[in-house]
């Protein structure tokens, strides 16, 4: 956002401001209108000037404890009250509570003759008495230029208006003065010369049959303010100027992951799915299954007990439910449980701003955790040729969702002729995760493939995966690479069959081999057994041979001893004999 500074010193501290309570306006002006001074709200017929003023008064009385006076030159107080009711303000009740005075000043040229000099002291007295009767702090003059139609003496009028604005300033009331845009001038009679502190320009433009409202702070003496043109909406809760909060990129983010509802897809996203609160874009040509992916996400979220919102710009709720049932997703039960709300509108029913308002209101109402907009691209018809507006709107929706920590899932239809990586809405840089669905045509068939083009903050899969729409939902298939790229459909089935065959053959072969080896092993074992037996036999033989030798030696020794005894040899050296004998052995 650009900020303009009219003086080199920051003067917000010295310039008191009067909060309008109008959503977004106080952010743009850093606090509201200049307190105690008149501000001019100008614009063409039907651009919302009166409403701006009425809301300023009503919010002042309701929310800020500042009673207000409405001096209406165009509408009777009944008409005003009636109009305000549709925007959620009960002016009659405020009047009864002495928070508001509406004075309708009617001037009819046909019943007035002018002769001689006069001034508008009567008007001053009326405004003054209205202000004093309730101690008003805010005044709306809507629009004093009507006086030019009722009185002839323009010179008197001009000087009296100038005096009026100065007088209001002296009274210390914060005044809003409306003025209808003239040709080449901000107001038809140039009263902007007399109101120079703050000028706000309202505008509505017709583009391709759809109206977009815009607001710009043209001038704000002594204060910084946003100088951009801001789209604004007139909804059930009055005016809201967008962006409300996107003045900074400071939303809190979550490390939480949520399942996409498709196990295969979760796997591609680090096995965990999307980040909670992130924005996800699914783009693809017609019939690639964008809505089905959305249904999966919703189904998963509702199963976790989370509230979800589905904005459908192409299908009615019933049609959507039927179609999703055909792939095995029963969204109807979540609607019955009150978790899922489907909001179906034609994109052309109203302009972008009202779509935005609807989205904002429903977000407020249902506080969903997951929001699906299907498809975003159809809103282009609402944006007319100016797709920049749509990008802007999407940015605001994304901003809002991020602020709320809500996961946003957008689908976008890419038409055949376009490059796959360009969405028509040009929001690719705004989203965190971008899934691309594509038709692959080969061997006389079209098959669907999916890949993750980007996914911020995670190591996502870079694979192209085929997916099927089964009666159990979307299923991702293994990726097969062939010479001509990824294999899909029958080519993939053929490849799968080949691989199965391959596998069983190799299984057979290895079984055979295992058998052969085990036979060999058994033979070796048998051989080992035989040798062992042989070894034992030999050992036995060896041992018996040793025993025989010993016996023979013993017998010989015995024989010698007997012989010695028979020869009566002296037995005294007997002790040394065995050592001699042993040495001799």
């Amino acid at each position: 956002m650009k900020l303009k500074r009219n003086s080199s010193q920051p003067t917000e501290r010295t310039l008191p401001k009067c909060p309008t309570g109008i959503a977004g306006f106080d952010e743009i002006t850093l606090g509201g209108l200049p307190r105690g001074r008149p501000s001019l709200i100008c614009g063409g017929a039907g651009c919302g000037k009166t409403l701006f003023g009425i809301e300023f008064l009503a919010r002042g009385a309701q929310d800020f404890g500042e009673p207000g006076v409405c001096i209406s030159f165009e509408e009777t107080s009944d008409d005003l009250a009636q109009n305000a009711i549709s925007l959620g303000f009960d002016l009659k009740a405020l009047e009864r509570a002495n928070e508001l005075v509406i004075d309708y000043i009617h001037i009819d040229k046909s019943e007035i003759a002018e002769t001689g000099e006069y001034d508008l002291e009567g008007l001053f007295i009326r405004i003054g008495s209205a202000i004093d009767s309730i101690g008003a702090k805010r005044v709306l003059l809507d629009t004093p230029e009507a006086l030019f139609g009722g009185l002839n003496d323009e010179g008197v009028l001009r000087s009296e208006l100038r005096r009026l604005f100065r007088w209001l300033k002296d009274k210390g009331v914060t005044a809003v003065i409306t003025g209808e845009k003239g040709e080449g001038t901000l107001t038809r009679h140039g009263i902007e010369e007399y109101v120079s502190d703050c000028v706000v320009l309202l505008d509505h433009r017709l583009q391709s049959g759809v109206v977009t409202r815009r607001m710009r702070v043209l001038k704000y003496r002594g204060s910084m303010h946003g100088t951009n043109e801001y789209p604004f909406l007139i909804g059930q809760k009055g005016i809201s100027i967008l962006p409300i909060t996107s003045l900074g990129l400071n939303h809190r983010i979550s490390d939480d992951r949520i399942s996409s509802g498709i196990p295969g897809l979760d796997e591609m996203l680090e096995g965990a799915g999307f980040y909670r609160g992130s924005s996800i874009l699914v783009s693809g040509t017609a019939g690639t299954g964008k809505t089905s992916m959305a249904a999966h996400l919703l189904n998963a979220a509702c199963s976790r007990g989370e509230a979800c919102l589905f904005f459908s710009f192409e299908e009615s709720p019933d049609q959507l439910l039927r179609n999703m049932r055909s792939i095995g997703i029963d969204l109807g039960r979540w609607i019955k449980k009150g978790l899922l709300h489907i909001h179906s509108t034609r994109p052309t029913t109203h302009g972008l701003e009202l779509h935005l308002v609807e989205i904002h209101n429903l977000l407020e109402q249902h506080k969903p955790k997951v929001v699906v907009i299907d498809p975003l691209s159809s809103l282009i018809s609402g944006a007319g040729e100016n797709t920049g507006d749509l990008t802007n709107m999407v940015l605001r929706v994304i901003d809002r969702l991020k602020q709320l920590g809500t996961t946003g899932f957008f689908t976008s239809l890419t038409s055949g002729g376009r490059a796959a990586e360009a969405t028509e809405v040009n929001i690719s840089s705004l989203v965190d995760t971008w899934l691309l669905l594509r038709d692959v045509e080969s061997d006389g068939e079209r098959n669907r493939v999916l890949y993750v083009l980007k996914s911020r903050g995670m190591a996502h899969s870079n694979q192209l995966r085929e997916f099927l729409m089964t009666k159990n939902g979307v299923e991702l298939r293994e990726a097969y690479l062939g010479p001509a790229g990824v294999l899909t459909g029958s080519a993939r089935l053929a490849q799968e069959a080949r691989e199965r065959e391959e596998e069983s053959r190799s299984k057979r072969e290895s079984e055979d081999r295992r058998l052969a080896l085990s036979r060999k092993l058994r033979a070796a074992e048998a051989q080992i057994l035989a040798l062992e037996a042989e070894r034992q036999a030999a050992e036995l033989e060896l041992r018996s041979a040793a025993i025989q030798t010993e016996e023979r030696r013993n017998a010989a020794a015995e024989q010698r001893a007997q012989m010695a005894r028979s020869r009566k040899v002296d037995s005294s050296p007997k002790a040394s004999r065995p050592s001699v004998r042993e040495a001799g052995v």
Binding site: I105, I107, E111, I112, A113, E114, Y118, G122, L123, R126
Partner: protein
Amino acid sequence: MATRRDGNGKVEYDLRLYVAGQTPRSVQAFANLTKICEEHLAGRYRIAVIDLLEHPQLAKGDQILAIPTLVRTLPEPIRKIIGDLSNKERVLVGLDVRSTG
């Protein structure tokens, strides 16, 4: 349309002059008015002078913006003349005195 006539069948005039304090312009307007009325409506007119500084709430009823404002409440329809009434011809036209005289 309500009209009130005097004994001679002539239309009677009820006039209100709205002023804000005793400004020279108001004084002038009152003087001009009585002079015109005496000349053309002698005996069949009533003038009420309303000072809005004292009764500001009365400004709303007759939709008074300009000061001074002369309002002809009778005969109907209501007519208003703003200014100090210095141009006699225009006042007479404004009050529609000639035709109903």
